[in-house]
């Protein structure tokens, strides 16, 4: 036995005596609670209690962190966030950055999830063919998923900087260099691109697993009937893959709505507010601005929570159907 496993054995034996004691006192049923308790306690402290505190912060104002020092302001934080002269013009809103964040996030979700799932589906379909070295290709597409978002952002920042390799490629064909991350539209484009680059391998993997779960006989029956390929895909593959596509769609939406890490490091939310998303607004308002407006940040968190609540309910429904 190595010292490490010995240590592990000793540590894991520590609860033996108290547990035996509890076992003698409690009926079998209660013992279940003992095992569940630590996990439940952490959830209570860092998930459930915080939601209540979120509500408290959202209803109080000022810049104090301590709840007892915060004056009650009613729905002021919410109205401050939500009041706009014209809802399609973020600049007309009292909290214009928040609304820029909402519109940017919406735009991001539509482009990122739409493009990423299409690409993942195509890649999964290609990988599901007779491919030489399928394991290698599958791993290659998946590898960036494991990388830290900060690493991903720096890899691309290095490529996209003004004297970077992409501009060098442009220069070699005589094109003028572009400040990729200082132009609003390009910065948004690269935010979408980089987040797809980093995450599509995950969705490809799930869809490929779904494709491989379709029994071979189904495809063989169709090919016996000489079904045209596109019809085969539309009438057989796609419907059978639907449950997986739904799961992947909801997962993708949940993650895209909360996008922060990669884009924050890549663009800092800029130029201006061009790539500022909802979570960055929450972070900025609560922690990065000179004046920390916890109430506003909490109110924005709760609004985001409602969106996630809806999406997660759809996901759980899908999971239950899948299981």
């Amino acid at each position: 036995m190595t010292p490490l496993t010995t240590l592990f054995g000793v540590v894991m034996n520590l609860p033996e005596r108290p547990m035996r004691w509890a076992q003698g006192r409690l009926r079998e049923g209660r013992l279940g609670w003992v095992f569940v308790a630590p996990n439940l306690a952490v959830f209570a402290l860092f998930s459930f209690l915080p939601v209540a505190i979120d509500i408290y912060y959202a209803l109080t104002g000022g810049t104090a962190l301590l709840p007892s020092e915060r004056p009650y302001v009613g729905a002021e934080n919410f109205s401050s966030l939500l009041v706009c002269d014209n809802y399609f013009d973020a600049d007309s809103c009292r909290r214009d950055v928040f609304w820029h964040g909402i519109w940017n996030t919406l735009r991001f979700v539509v482009f990122q999830v739409g493009l990423m799932l299409s690409l993942s589906l195509v890649t999964a379909l290609v990988l599901n063919r007779k491919i030489i070295g399928r394991g290698f290709f599958r791993a290659a597409f998946f590898y960036p998923v494991l990388l830290s978002p900060v690493v991903v952002a720096l890899i691309w920042k290095w490529i996209l900087q003004r004297e970077g390799v992409l501009n060098a490629g442009f220069a070699s064909v005589g094109a003028a260099p572009v400040n990729w991350l200082l132009d609003a539209n390009w910065a948004f484009f690269w935010s979408v691109f980089v987040s797809i680059w980093a995450h599509m391998g995950f969705y490809t993997l799930i869809l490929l697993a779904g494709l491989q779960a379709i029994p071979a006989e189904v495809h063989e029956a169709a090919s016996m009937d000489a079904t045209p390929p596109f019809r085969h895909f539309r009438k057989i593959t796609l419907p059978l893959l639907m449950p997986n596509l739904l799961v992947v769609l909801v997962l993708g939406l949940i993650r895209a709505v909360q996008m922060f890490d990669e884009v924050y490091v890549l663009t800092g939310g800029g130029p201006g507010t061009a790539t500022t998303f909802i979570v960055q607004y929450i972070y900025k308002t609560g922690f990065a601005d000179q004046v920390r407006q916890y109430g506003l940040a909490a109110a924005a968190s709760l609004l985001l929570a409602f969106v996630l609540l809806g999406l997660t309910l759809v996901q759980l429904k899908g999971m239950r159907r899948g299981a």
Partner: protein, 347 residues
């Protein structure tokens, strides 16, 4: 059978154009996935002068030097026009537009040439000092240790706490079991992004700000882990437990001597997830850790990219070192990771 990109093919051996298209697509994908990472790796080996070259070179280049005794290291130039054209000379100094050069073989004669009449001699050299500098000039080991400590401790605690809960939920009948399970799943709806402010308050009250434990504790209970492990433990036969009880084993012993070892495959999947989550985590650590001596690697990288825009050589090397551990783990466990994630369907 009609060939198509859109359908699975079985039993064909002759390649048609769709096979070529499929493989070309995948190869292009591999280039797009690995190209940027390879470029990062190559760039991290370039010296500061090599990084400033535009257009950038593929391999790490820097100006060649020659050791000229008491005159120290001199940079080498090639004379491009006029006297001594084509000769490789070492530069002593530059005065105005005049360059004073010497021939390394005859260092006693000083040759004066206009600065414009020479060009630097470049050579390939890996600038490993980018990496060694991380240790000598930055608090790099500290960041590495912080990240490693959080990842290892949080993963061990996650495995312990989640497997205990999963054991309780799958192997005991008690009132409130179903509600508790649903409650735990419900935390899926409370991701860290929406409880930043309250968790910051709680961490402050518990004295966890600027402490690595402030990153560890909130992450220890995971709905994904409980779900994954519970589903797995449900498949383990209850007879095992009954038999152990007959032998008068305590419930704790049953848990960690029988159920835990049998749950190894599910634990491995959760361990992989946990390592990935904790090593890469960014937003919550950024909120709870503000002093640089408790920074994790992602936090250090983020703050350096703001400060050291001119020191890309160190930034790139640090980025490489950050991605190495995850890459090594992936290279070794590639098959298990992809299969585990495909079966769990979570991230």
């Amino acid at each position: 059978m009609a060939p198509s990109v859109l359908t699975a093919q079985r039993g064909r051996y002759a390649w048609d154009w769709t096979d070529w298209a499929a493989h070309l697509y995948l190869l292009a994908g591999v280039v797009l996935m690995f190209g940027p990472i390879a470029w990062l790796g190559l760039s991290s080996l370039k010296s500061e002068t090599g990084l400033n070259l535009f257009p950038p070179t593929f391999l790490p280049y820097e100006q060649a030097t020659v050791d000229a005794g008491e005159r120290g290291k001199l940079r080498l130039f090639k004379v491009t026009e006029g006297d001594h054209q084509g000769e490789t000379l070492a530069e002593l100094r530059r005065i105005g537009r005049q360059a004073q050069l010497i021939d390394p073989a005859h260092p006693e004669t000083i040759i004066r040439r206009p600065g414009a009449a020479r060009e630097p001699v470049m050579q390939v050299r890996a600038a490993v000092e980018n990496y060694s500098g991380l240790f000598s000039q930055f608090n790099f080991l500290r960041y590495f240790w912080n990240s490693g400590f959080i990842t290892v401790v949080a993963t061990l605690l996650t495995l312990l706490v989640n497997s205990m809960a999963a054991f309780g939920l799958s192997k005991y009948r008690f009132q409130g079991r179903e509600p508790v399970f649903l409650l735990m799943l419900a935390t899926l709806m409370i991701p860290p992004t929406i409880v930043l402010v309250p968790n910051y308050l709680i961490a402050t009250e518990l004295g966890l700000t600027n402490s690595l434990w402030g990153v560890i504790w909130p992450a220890v209970a995971t709905p994904t882990g409980v779900f994954l492990l519970r589903q797995y433990m449900l498949t383990l036969p209850d007879e095992l437990i009954e038999a152990a009880r007959m032998d008068n084993a305590s419930e704790w012993r049953i848990y960690w001597r029988i159920i835990l070892p049998l749950s190894a495959p599910a634990l491995a999947v959760l361990a992989i997830f946990s390592v990935m989550w904790r090593w890469n985590e960014f937003l919550w650590p950024m909120v709870v850790l503000s002093r640089s001596e408790v920074y994790t690697l992602p936090l250090a990288l983020n703050s350096f990219q703001g400060e050291l825009t001119t020191q890309w050589n160190y930034l790139l090397a640090m980025t490489v070192v950050t991605l190495v551990p995850i890459t090594v783990i992936f290279a070794i466990l590639q098959k298990h990771i992809t299969q585990g994630i495909a079966s769990a369907g979570v991230k």
